[in-house]
Amino acid sequence: MSLWEYVEDRWDLILFETVQHASMVAQCVLIAAILGVLIGVAAYRRPRPSALATTIAGVLFTIPSLALLGLLIPPLGLGVAPSVTAIVVYALLPIIRNTIVGLQGVDPLLVDAARGIGMSRRRLLTRIELPLAWPVILTGIRVSTQLAMGIGAVAAYVSGPGLGEQIFSGLARLGGANAVNSALTGTIGVAILALLFDAAFVLLGRFTTPGERRAAMGGARG
């Protein structure tokens, strides 16, 4: 059976697993983005909490994904819970780091100007610092998404949802019928999803940084 026939034969299942995979990654990254930005915002003003947050996330990052998933089985069991937890943990580091770097990278002159015209801390953060740091933060989220794609596939090890199931069952039956087709389908599916998500981020970046974009268009007009 060729790969194409294999895919045609199981189209419904593969489509379901793909949607599951995409949905899991999207939700995990969303959770990680919210948590990561919040942690970054809480930490960026002071050097020690900043260092602490990045270090902890960095240490968690170095644990191999299979090992982390295995460690999560005793407390969380199998299925969605350990998968989501592991993906979020890995996705946090790039987001926290980029949030801190992005916010710290805002020109102190602008912060001074904003304070000087009477902006409150909160307004300064939402109107000046976060918008200016946004391209950097978005890059962090984008990197996290790519990470989540891969770890999402490994999550099948703890019976997590998604395309990982195709890869793991294929690898388990290596030499058997359709084993390679199954593994290939999972791998290619993850790769295609990753490309689609990345394209979505490029568009998101364009639409959420209107200042630069419109300025560029203004230049073309003038």
């Binding site: 020109d107 002159l109 602008l110 001074d112 100007a113 904003a114 304070r115 000087g116 015209i117 009477g118 902006m119 409150s120 307004r123 000046i128 918008p131 200016l132 940084t209 200042g211 630069e212 419109r214 300025a215 203004g218 230049g219 003038g222």
Partner: protein, 391 residues
């Protein structure tokens, strides 16, 4: 908006001290300063003398360690810092415009925080752009990075003026600009100030800028105290000590030329008469005066013609239209330096000086200016002698 702009309020600093944690000697020490309403007061000094710290304590970007600051009689400690700052314009070096906002959005920030409605903000933005010399239609929707440094700082000034605050703080606002733009923005600030009469605290280390801009100058010395607080001419002619003199540097005579107005010096009071004056009587007056010439003016005392003894020779009745038409006048508001330029380019040795309503106020020649310089120098010599004697 048709209503009058808010004019300045006085600012008083009372024994203001700022000691930074672990910073050794205080950055500002028991500083007293009275800033009159509607004046430009320049804090002048080298870097590290505490001038910026002093200014930033006024809008509480830096909290004083002790002492009080009264703005319009109100103690600034009693006002929420964010609210306080919305009513104090703030202009910094390189303008500090928000790059992700249009020019209009930058200017609109304070009015937005004060809860103005959209219509009012839009009108105010256009009004301010015109005030600072930027055409609203062209610049309203552009982004700051499309503007030159000078234009950015114009927007910076517009942003500071947006909510019509009585007080403006300017921290080396023109320091990053090229000399031509700097000069032009200084001129425009003075022009604006003529209409607005805000209380402006202006920080700079540029002596020429201070002398040009300031109504009063506070010369500061490390650590954080004021050595001399006086009008520019006073500081130039009578520096409080060697530090001030050294800081002013060489060329103070040239600076005086730039600072002194024609109206401030003793002019040559050349005889003048109206066209109706009797020719022979005027001739006799000229004879007695000894200069050998006089100025003919119209009924409003505006200079018309130079007239010499020879013109009147044998003439009966009124003077009438004889004489050589004047080629130009010098305003009493002109600086001596500009007047010198005029004199060197003039066709005649004497150029009439006109005061209010173009009325004749005296005559200026190179000799007159020279005398004025000599007088200034004599005063300086005398002052030095006095200081030496006092030591």
């Amino acid at each position: 908006m048709a209503d009058q702009p808010t004019s300045g309020v006085p600012i008083e600093l009372r024994k203001v001290t700022k000691a930074f944690p672990g910073g050794g000697e205080p950055a500002v020490r028991e500083l007293d300063l009275d800033i009159p309403a509607g004046e430009i007061v320049v804090l002048l000094g080298p870097s590290g003398c505490g001038k910026t710290t002093t200014m930033r304590m006024i809008n509480r970007l830096i909290e004083p360690t002790s002492g009080d600051i009264l703005i319009g009689g109100q103690n600034s400690r009693g006002i929420d810092p964010d609210r306080l700052r919305r009513h104090i314009g703030y202009v910094i070096q390189q303008a500090g415009l928000f790059p992700h906002m249009t020019v209009a959005a930058n200017i609109a920030q304070v009015p937005k925080m004060l809860g103005w409605d959209k219509q009012r903000i839009a009108e105010r933005v256009d009004e301010l752009l015109e005030l600072v010399g930027l055409e609203p239609g062209t610049y309203r929707d552009t982004y700051p990075r499309r503007l030159s440094g000078g234009q950015q700082q114009r927007v910076g000034v517009a942003r500071a003026l947006a909510a019509d605050p009585p007080v403006l703080l300017m921290d080396e606002p023109f320091g990053a600009l090229d000399p031509i733009s700097r000069e032009r923005l200084q001129d425009e600030l003075l022009r604006l100030q003529d209409d607005l009469a805000k209380t402006i605290v202006f920080v700079t280390h540029d002596v020429d800028e201070a002398l040009k801009i300031g109504d009063h100058i506070a010369v500061m010395q490390r650590p954080g105290h004021i050595v001399q607080y006086a009008r520019p001419a006073e500081i130039l002619t009578n520096p409080a000590n060697d530090y001030v003199e050294q800081f002013l540097g060489a060329g103070s005579s040239m600076r005086l030329l730039r600072l002194t107005k024609v109206g401030d010096i003793e002019l040559d009071q050349v005889l003048y008469a109206s066209e109706d004056a009797d020719a022979q009587e005027l001739r006799a007056d000229i004879e007695r005066d000894g200069r050998g010439y006089a100025l003919i003016t119209d009924g409003m005392r505006r200079p018309l013609r130079w007239i010499g003894r020879d013109h009147l020779e044998g003439r009966e009745g009124p003077v009438g239209a004889t004489g050589d038409a004047i080629t130009g006048t010098i305003s009493h508001r002109m600086t001596l330096q500009d007047a010198l330029e005029e004199l060197l380019n003039a066709d005649t040795d004497n150029v009439p000086v006109v005061g209010r309503r173009q009325a004749y106020a005296g005559s200026l020649s190179l000799a007159t200016v020279q005398n004025a310089i000599a007088a200034i120098k004599a005063r300086e010599r005398e002052r030095r002698l006095r200081r030496v004697e006092a030591q």
